[in-house]
Symmetry: D2
Subunit: 343 residues, 4 copies
């Protein structure tokens, strides 16, 4: 059994890790931390887990965490960069679900996240945990930066087009819609049911922290810097991201469906839908799947890709477990067999 | 492997059976029927199941179904009573998720369901599939009548009070709130999002088909006919039933919490919450659990029991699988390890 | 024009007052206060009001408020009792939408609200602003305690039964379901969309602050203390209260429909539905109406009353404006002509 | 008083017309038709209107309708084109909320709507009822084709950019999100709460009937045919459209905010938000307003316009009433003072 620690267990990605790991055949969660809930039993906070865990939250303690085989950080940015270096030095493998190790350009990270980075060396060493792109490096990585939710949906949707040089990468558009759980479990007026239900709005149009992450990923695929307009929207639902991606073909191309199917043929968690299908976010609710469709409306030169994930699963905790499975040589699907809850 | 057939696979209880059975270690779904979708692949209708099933719907055919070890009916009332007798005669075991075999009094059934019953003998033979009451009979049953969703929540909540003779059974009140999936997947104006979202209403106050079923169950527990006022409400959510149950103690009693805990101590799927807790339906979303709390507000003689289930799981497909597990001597929990999806 | 001040304009009852008063023909909102938003324009906080108001929030100032004809308090409990006495002394009329002046028994109030009351004399003088019961006293009142949302729905539903002595008042049951806006606009984890959507739960079963208020009102109607079990539930919607009320007839009675129709015949804002109807909360969304149905299921002796309101309108801001209209001799319907938003 | 008839009163645009007209000072609804609900009282079907209407639905009868000053068609496509010519011939003014008279190219209309057009001459005569573009022609029009919901949001958002020739019109993108009420009040599986709640999906990516309507409008603005990719999405809410519009500037431009403000300065129902604001659909819920923001993210050459409306109001019934007000020389705002319901 892999002995796992979770730092920051009271947010939505933390409890989602617990949900997924509850049925993982090769994992034992040994420690889960929370400064604010020290001593509280996990199941008293999250009664859906009753019968599955007997743990209580404890204050984060590096020594105790160092006894784990793997530590997940399900924390706001700024936490993992302070604790991960010591754990890595102890030989612990680390998967950060937060943003600290995603951006390779430290200055760029600091501008977008508004703080100094304190673990630049570990950023360099960290592998960006998108298995569909970096599976080989993930196998041997000690430090994984798990991708953000929007970046996962957007990159998987653009990937076949960009890595094959089919579209003009100067003006890509990612119009993305997220459920409210992306805003986290913190108390805030903006995420109240009465403020978000029965309404739709864009936010961060002038600039959102996932923009540099998506651009970095797409630029690596393209082999050159890309231009991207990214508009996130808050959607009145709990879970789910729907990315609608627009790009312009350089040359006429009738083979996009085949291209997507072939690119993702061996991928356990990317599902290219039949031509003409419109994936729904609910089809992946609770499951670690990215469903993708590709269209060329009116047979014109604009390509529209639809890419849906559950932001808490393939966009966070599920992808983290997928990375863990790869790192520890397990079946990549272990513990990730949940079927989307529909209806 | 148990070879399973499902009659009526396009409704919500049908697709929920498929979701649960997709990860059941001892089951193979061999045939799934639908008159209207004959030849359509299951995953084309329910894309959440993509990667899990390669079946197509077929027109119901008794001969083919008779080759199964077990047939589930996930059909509207009136269907199972026509097909089940022949299957039972062939030695197939049958679990009806519909209403045909729940009411022992055939005339009463006919009045509430508005049709003649055509399988009275099989009604007599059928076991009411509430494991917490009838587990022993279920083991050897060939025909199971799976309880309705409201009846499951209401009976499990009242059970410890009534079987111990603690409350006045002449005027019980069951105020129940259900998500919209209880209305099924048929096209109807009344279940449109625009008609049900952002609203709450009672329905069927003058009389609802689950009333005689609940009264029958409670009367058996009480050993005499009970009086019950049952008011169902439509709640703007997909899944979940919250039963709020009112009864009056015959004598002062401070031991209700202990009584409930003791009654359900060995039950794998009934969870008595700590004193003072309020169970939320989301804590059982997708899981086969009934969570219960008991209160005596202001230390008065009125007892309030809160009982929550997922109407599609413990209120339908999950309970059906639980029955199957018992009937076939499997671990009662097999395939039923889903943790409630929260958030 | 009536010159109006609003203390506490950033909560949901405050912005609802602004919405309603925006189209009131006889009112000018002159001052609106908020400590936290001092200097912020109302429309920057509530863009639905753009084009209707040019006001900014200011810090509460009794001198400035004293220049108004009427001051509404849309504040948490504890605020109005500190400021209202001075305003009343200045001759200003006051309507408190909060809880400070609702309970006549000061000790009882202190126990439930956990603080000393500092304006006992004004409590005595205050008129409970339920027009269907106290219209005459409201006309000349200087200080109005506007009823709570649950108490409005529950009292209007029980009123005809109790004031006519038809039911056993020792064991009344009020099973009430509220939208999340009842929890207010404060930042709290418990009211997040991700915590309340797609779920139903009871809360405060052991005791809720509206219990003594409802009991007080029903006891006055009955002429003696009543016994009441009150269970509030949080429902996944923004607005609306659905009260389901249970009581037992002392004697057989076939005239309940006629009784309710006759009792409320002249009431502009109570609508008795045709026999057999089930009122939906959405039918009153945004409107100042209480819709009521009465049933005697199975012709038995238990009476079920269904009573729905919009908690922010007839349960708060609309009822406050209705009181204002009565106090100032206006048409009671002035400014209250909004039709429920359906769908 | 303007004597009004409504053909097709049982759909969502019909009941919304009734809601708005209930408080219109200059209108009397004289007849409302429905084949299926002949004889049923309007308030029995739509209880939110109780106390406002005493009408019953009647079978459509041209003679009776011809006695009206104005007839609204709130019908599926194909109905108005059969009845409107006769009414127009009788001198009645007609506003069609449906699609029959929106597309000037009859062949194009027939291809998209799958039927022959039977009133080509009246199409030619009809004025496209977007007051911000065609106010002068609307004044004297006898036949108005009221714009679709998506086309209203999209055209108002693009208008200032295109009529001033600022953007490349060869590759415009309109990514639009609609509430479920856009799907109408017909019984359909696809619009059930259980199918649409807690999910987001695109639909009609290969082609949607509003595409040719939007292209026609934008092409008239541009003075030449435009290229447009239009992707509609179904959003889990009842009301609201959020259009996110992408275009590329021909030349650098820092004056977009001023341009939008100036273009819409005199418009009663278009509200340009302060720079940097993100309009929410709920801010216009129930109100006849289009709120717009304009961004140039990262100061690049891509312009993002956010445009929100209530699809049933400014996208249908409200805009129809606005047209009526203009046609009959009333204050354009008459009856359209509803403030957005927020929360």
């Amino acid at each position: 059994m892999i002995k796992v620690g979770i730092v920051g267990g009271t947010g939505y990605t933390g409890v989602e890790l617990l949900r997924i790991l509850a049925n993982h055949p090769d994992v034992k969660v040994d420690v889960i931390t929370s400064r604010s809930e020290d001593g509280i039993k996990v199941v008293d906070m999250f009664p859906n887990l009753r019968g599955h865990y007997d743990l209580a939250f404890t204050v984060p303690d590096v020594e105790r965490l160092a006894s784990c085989d793997l530590v997940f950080f399900a924390t706001p940015h700024g936490v993992a960069m302070r604790m991960a270096p010591e754990l890595v030095a102890c030989g612990v493998r680390v998967i950060d679900l937060g943003a600290d190790f995603r951006i390779k350009d430290i200055d760029l990270w600091s501008r977008w996240y508004g703080m100094e980075h304190t673990a630049a060396a570990l950023v360099e060493q960290a592998v960006y945990g998108l298995p569909e792109v970096n599976r080989e490096q993930i196998r041997t990585a000690q430090m994984i930066a798990c991708p953000g939710c929007y970046p996962t949906a957007a990159q998987l949707g653009f990937l076949p087009l960009i890595e094959n040089g089919l579209v003009d990468t100067r003006r890509l558009v990612a119009d993305c819609k997220s459920g409210v759980s992306g805003a986290g479990r913190g108390a805030s007026v903006g995420a109240l049911l009465c403020e978000t239900s029965e309404s739709m709005k864009a936010y961060g149009v002038a600039g959102h922290r996932h923009l540099p992450e998506i651009k970095q990923g797409l630029s690596i695929m393209a082999g050159r810097p890309v231009g991207l307009t990214f508009v996130p929207h808050l959607t009145p639902m709990i879970r789910g991201i729907h990315a609608t991606l627009y790009s312009v073909l350089k040359d006429p191309n009738d083979g996009l469906q085949a291209l997507f199917e072939s690119r993702y043929a061996g991928e356990p968690f990317v599902d290219v839908m039949p031509a003409g299908s419109h994936p729904e976010t609910r089809s992946v609710k609770g499951g670690n799947v990215c469903r993708i469709s590709v269209f060329r409306p009116q047979d014109d030169d604009t390509v529209v890709v639809l890419s849906v994930i559950d932001n808490l699963v393939k966009g966070a905790a599920g992808q983290a477990v997928q990375n863990m499975n790869i790192m520890f040589g397990l079946d990549e699907r272990a513990g990730l067999n949940q079927v989307g809850l529909m209806p």
